[in-house]
């Protein structure tokens, strides 16, 4: 891919304070501040151009000033089988080696295959350096089949990033999708778990989701998604607190960086959301 070369790294996130209108020309983040994308993906290899697509993702992250990306690979076929999630996680492990220090891996599993899922998580986290668990829409977050997965994540001290959406007009292919309410229910059962509710900017009615998570203080919320609705970050920070927000992109990098740039928050709060909160989660792992 042609490298742009004309836009200095950090020009985008580095001008957050000025562009966000918070009254300071001083860059929001200094050179030592780390920006971590808590929710992204490398490509499934059924896509013919997966290598180029992964490279483009890293190139865009380079240009936008994103230091690290926490990624998973999901199979296109639902429900996921042990074969399909093991294959994805193997490709994820190879991705971590292709982009050392840039890409972290979430271990994706289908909780319905309890024994295989638990073995896969333990192996990938303890031996493969994976940083968390990714759950999609095979089961709702509040279903008992998910509980052993969360218990293992608690034991390993890794987060569980859970797909979520609250839409009245739900796409038919996702009958068991979770929403913020299901995540809050799971958090009440396991308050010590580090649960991440996925993509507030790609998960339907974001006001509903933020309110549903208000009284579930152990649930984090990632900011990723393609929607660029004004005010979402400010409302999430006001209701949940900036300590519970994690910057993410979910393959929508310019939208996600722009959203953070436009949010009218203090420099300190943006620094937490952009990387410090996720760094704190990563530092809790039992295996470093």
């Amino acid at each position: 891919m042609k490298r742009q070369g004309t836009v200095p790294r950090r020009a985008f996130l580095g001008s957050l304070a000025l562009a966000g209108g918070i009254g300071s020309a001083r860059p929001l983040i200094g050179s030592s501040a780390k920006v971590i994308d808590a929710h992204d993906h490398l490509q499934h290899r059924s896509r013919h151009d997966w290598q180029e697509a992964d490279r483009k993702l890293i190139d865009a992250a380079d240009k936008l000033g994103i230091d690290q990306l926490c990624c998973s690979i999901l199979p296109p076929q639902r429900p996921a089988t042990p074969e399909s999630f093991r294959e994805c996680n193997q490709w994820m492990a190879e991705g971590m080696r292709r982009f050392p220090g840039r890409v972290h891996g979430y271990c994706f599993v289908n909780p319905g295959y309890g024994k295989e899922a638990l073995e896969e998580i333990r192996r990938r986290v303890e031996q493969g350096g994976f940083i968390g668990v990714k759950l999609y829409n095979d089961y709702r977050a509040s279903e008992p089949v998910v509980f052993p997965i969360v218990e293992l994540a608690i034991q390993l001290r890794v987060p569980v990033l859970h797909h979520a959406n609250h839409s009245i007009w739900l796409p038919a292919p996702q009958p068991r999708i979770s929403d913020g309410g299901h995540l809050a229910e799971l958090a009440r059962r396991y308050p010590e778990a580090m649960l991440i509710c996925a993509h507030i900017s790609g998960g339907g009615d974001w006001e509903w989701t933020i309110k549903a998570l208000r009284n579930a203080p152990s649930v984090f919320l990632d900011t990723s998604g393609s929607a660029v609705d004004d005010g979402v970050i400010e409302m999430a920070a006001a209701v949940l607190g900036p300590e519970r927000l994690l910057f993410g992109c979910d393959l929508s990098l310019t939208a996600s960086v722009g959203r953070m740039r436009g949010a009218e928050l203090s420099e300190q709060d943006k620094t937490k959301i952009l990387g410090a909160n996720m760094q704190r989660i990563l530092s809790r792992r039992s295996i470093q």
Partner: protein
């Protein structure tokens, strides 16, 4: 910079910040936007859209140097001919916005074509927002689909002398509207508010397929943060002269300002 896709007023299903003239202008100052095309957000759900146009006219009147009015017109509602005349001759609109899914008609309905021909005769630009909100966010009261690209393409063919802005959409490259040598008249531009310049880089593809005069800056404020549009432009790997056309030149030519 000229933003072709802004709004004023209240929207039925979401509280908007920065939706008065003074607040929007303050935001434009912070973001260094010189001028913005605005239309009434309330008129999208009013039965009589003209009430929203009247409110907009009053709000914009002291700021016509920076806020460019578009009317929301509904060709299947009584009296649109009178509304068009008043909006143009008294309110000084430069164009109009159509919401065919919200107002329940097809763009190729003869009544819509009549409105578009009347607008073209007055030299007005016609803006078609593909969506207002992301469909995933929709209220339980209304499931409003996006405007279909085949339907828009049919309108482009049916009204080759009219000038169109296609706003707040994405996925044009996979449709006739975004393909190279698509056989459509070059009578439309596309705003970047929901396009991407990373990964699949739809903005770059549209520039290559349609030409550098056919893409314009739109932010969607105050529904949207304006900043994502700027980040997309900054990341876009094209000459600065092309970016300047997107930021200003193409819209200025289209609007005659």
């Amino acid at each position: 910079m000229i933003d072709v896709s802004a709004h004023l007023g209240h929207f039925a299903f979401l509280r908007l910040r920065n939706n008065t003239a003074s607040k929007l202008l303050a935001l434009m100052d912070r973001k260094r936007i010189d001028k913005a095309v605005v239309a009434s957000a309330a008129a999208i759900t009013y039965r009589n859209a003209q009430a929203g146009n009247e409110d907009l006219a009053a709000e914009v009147r002291p700021h016509r140097d920076r806020l460019i009015s578009f009317a929301v017109l509904n060709p299947v509602y009584a009296g649109w001919e009178d509304d068009l005349k008043i909006c143009h001759e008294e309110f000084g609109i430069k164009g109009m916005r159509l919401y065919p899914r919200w107002h329940n008609y097809r763009l190729t309905d003869p009544r819509c074509l009549e409105l578009i021909h009347a607008a073209a005769q007055r030299g007005l630009v016609v803006s078609i927002p593909i969506r207002v909100e992301d469909r995933r966010h929709g209220s339980w009261l209304a499931d409003i689909p996006d405007v279909g690209y085949e339907e828009i393409a049919a309108l482009m063919r049916a009204a080759p002398k009219a000038k169109f802005i296609l706003a707040n959409g994405s996925g044009f490259v996979g449709s006739p509207l975004g393909r190279k040598n698509n056989g459509l008249p070059p009578n439309y531009v596309i705003d970047i508010s929901l396009l991407r310049s990373e990964l699949d880089n739809e903005i770059g593809q549209l520039l290559a397929n349609l030409g550098e005069d056919r893409v314009v800056l739109g932010t969607g404020m105050p529904f949207h943060y304006p900043d994502p549009a700027f980040v997309k432009l900054e990341l876009l790997d094209v000459a600065e002269a092309v970016k300047e056309k997107i930021r200003h030149g193409n819209a200025a030519r289209l609007l005659g300002i």
